[in-house]
Symmetry: C2
Subunit: 147 residues, 2 copies
Amino acid sequence: MSNRPPPGQMFATNLDKEVLEEGEIFAPSFDENGLIPTITMHAETFEVLMFAWMNEDSLAKTLKSGEAWYWSRSRNELWHKGATSGQIQKVTEIRTDCDQDVVLLKVIPQSPGACHVGYNSCFYRSIQMNDDGTARLMFEETEKVAK
Amino acid sequence: MSNRPPPGQMFATNLDKEVLEEGEIFAPSFDENGLIPTITMHAETFEVLMFAWMNEDSLAKTLKSGEAWYWSRSRNELWHKGATSGQIQKVTEIRTDCDQDVVLLKVIPQSPGACHVGYNSCFYRSIQMNDDGTARLMFEETEKVAK
């Protein structure tokens, strides 16, 4: 079996489970909305910076351009990360998971503050337990690095 | 405004945007299926091990027990990671993101091989480009560490 998708297509589809998990054919699985979850980590610090979604077009654009493109569910449009903020993410590696329904990007951000709130990472708060069994948040990043 | 959820509830709900992003109240946002995306990374190596989903019950169990509980979408049931495989994940930290609709777990796996295929991480393959513009996978982990 070839490890290439059909002529004219960038990605394969409909692999059986063994080929999907153990093979070298890339057949990304998009959900019922045509989206795939995407985890973005800093290539050098390994910090998880953000979580977003891609559609087939943003995945193709990311692979071809070497910069992160997502799908904005709130704006319902392609989103070239950093196009307006300057927060371009240069992609150093892309991985997928065992059943090829998640994408992991390793990136070098071109300026600090991946999160729109102004922190380096969107995951700037940890979850802590109160004595009464309820949960609260604690800031792990205390200073904003971007507007 | 108190940083506690209403009496009898572990989590708050329906915060306005500023309190959600800038505050200390934990109000996890579950999707239309009652699930929240969960990224699991190794607390020491920072390697992203897996991506899964939690419902409200698995999140509560994870917070209370200090071990990772997920929601299996394929089996449609609560999933105490490692209960059958021995791959228990001790949680050292839990974070959430800016709009509180993603969870990030830092864990110490109690035995190697977080992925059911046998690799340390589910993200054992990178995506590479062929000369003709199609994509293929390349194994970044070459040896299985678990059955």
